[in-house]
């Protein structure tokens, strides 16, 4: 390249802008089409995908709650969730009374809550609860979970997201339990770009910390010394159609992780990139039709 000149693929010295954005007059008609159409298609799909991802954003982190040896636990939100946001709360609990203990929302703060299935092993449980807040949720709102029996150690944390589908049924979910440093949701086959959220809860250390694996962004990472437990919540605003949401504890610990893929608002299907075809197949007429 010399100044604003550069060597084109044909070996001709041309203004650099003509190479990056070819002047149709410099190209044969067929070559113009070959360059322009795939580029236009790519730009069109790229724009749709970018718009989709840009539309989904983190709204607020809603706070945490740690509580030991009780049948109920309440999260008092530390921030307001905006109108038309999806609220996702991770609930980790150690059920001393056995593995069959389940929890349910008993104070809903005016929202309609649903949950993923719980991932349970032994007494360790992890579950995601979610609700679409059309009118938002005020700061200091109280959401209460009650266990089916006995007492539990609880660790709870939540966040809200904008640009999400108002019917937030997860596209896909998965979970896993292990006694190890790495934690993982397992592979989540959503079939579309999505908001991936994962909660991991460990029992055994009151000082453990978690590190999320990219592209996850960690939202919450807190431990309770008295409970010898820790909890983390992380998300990915543009989680791939098949993805594993993972991280690692600071020590080898018994834990359960639960992940879900939530649908991003409108155009989820349109965001899927076009199926790639071979270079030549673009120019082979099919059913008598010319390539368009």
């Amino acid at each position: 390249m010399v100044g604003d000149l550069a060597v084109s693929p044909g070996g001709v010295l041309l203004p650099r802008r003509e190479i990056l954005r070819p002047n149709p007059g410099l190209l044969l008609p067929g070559a113009q089409q070959m360059l322009r159409r795939p580029l236009e298609r790519w730009k069109r799909y790229r724009t749709a995908e970018d718009a989709l991802v840009a539309a989904a954003t983190l709204d607020a982190t809603l706070g945490t709650k740690a509580q030991s040896g009780t049948s109920t636990a309440s999260l008092t939100t530390s921030a307001a969730a905006a109108a038309n946001s999806l609220i996702v709360v991770g609930v980790g609990y150690f059920a001393a009374g056995g593995s069959g203990i389940t929890v349910n929302v008993t104070t809903a703060a005016g929202l309609t809550w649903a949950s993923t299935a719980r991932t349970n092993s032994g007494s360790v449980n992890s579950q995601l609860w979610y609700a679409y807040a059309a009118a938002g949720l005020a700061s200091s709102s109280v959401i209460t979970w009650t266990a089916s029996a006995s007492t539990c150690d609880w660790m709870i944390g939540g966040a809200s997201f904008l640009g999400m589908n108002s019917t937030p049924t997860p596209l896909a979910t998965n979970g896993a339990a292990a006694s190890a440093q790495p934690w993982s949701s397992g592979s989540i086959v959503a079939g579309a770009v999505n908001l991936g959220v994962v909660a991991a809860f460990e029992d055994g250390s009151g000082t453990a910390t978690s590190t999320s694996t990219a592209p996850l962004t960690e939202l919450i990472d807190f431990a309770s010394l008295g409970q010898t437990e820790a909890f983390t919540l992380a998300y990915d605003l543009a989680s791939a159609s098949t993805a594993t949401l993972a991280g690692s504890w600071s020590a080898s610990l018994s834990h359960a992780a639960r992940g879900a893929a939530f649908p991003i608002a409108s155009g989820v299907a349109a965001a899927r990139p076009p199926r790639r075809r071979s270079f030549m197949s673009r120019y082979v007429p099919r059913s008598g039709a010319r390539y368009r």
């Binding site: 593995s99 032994g122 896909a172 979910t173 292990a178 006694s179 959503a190 079939g191 055994g204």
Partner: protein, 156 residues
């Protein structure tokens, strides 16, 4: 004399009664879902008899029958020593390793449920299996079973 006799009798009874100390049923459950389908499973492991009871349902999200069996449905149990025991929920084949006493490294064999004597576990209700070598659970107060679920839904 009578007191001593009763004490001896009580001691004999204690010795005769089979001890179940340390025995427990360890439970685990989870699900994986995607593309409108859901694979949900529960697992109970009897640490005394080493019997593994697994119940698996594979349906559409609304509970109606699945379009087909899943292309991939594996429950991977991970031993505390790191040994992985993948249990294929379609074929009920289990992959075993050297630690299970198999000299050739890894073998795969379909397990037949002791409850009905037939292979297959999807949508059949709880099925009980005896895994060669048994299953070790994590030595902690939670009695945790390490697992992860590999699931590819129909159409995936």
């Amino acid at each position: 004399m009578t007191t001593r006799f009763l004490a001896l009798l009580l001691a004999a009874l204690v010795l005769l009664v089979p001890s179940t100390a340390g025995a427990a049923i360890v439970h685990a459950q989870s699900d994986a879902s995607g593309l409108g389908h859901e694979l949900a499973w529960t697992l109970d492991y009897d640490t005394a008899s080493r019997a593994l009871t697994i119940g698996v349902t594979h349906t559409r999200n609304d509970g109606s029958p699945a379009a087909s069996d899943p292309p991939l449905a594996v429950l991977v149990m991970v031993q505390p020593n790191g040994l992985q025991r993948p249990f294929n929920l379609n074929s009920t084949a289990v992959t075993l390793g050297v630690a299970d006493g198999f000299p050739d490294g890894t073998v795969v064999q379909p397990l037949v449920a002791s409850s009905d004597g037939l292979p297959g576990v999807l949508n059949k209700g709880p099925q009980t299996y005896n895994i060669p070598g048994g299953l070790r659970v994590s030595a902690n107060r939670a009695g945790l079973i390490d697992f992860r679920t590999l699931y590819t839904p129909p159409g995936g």
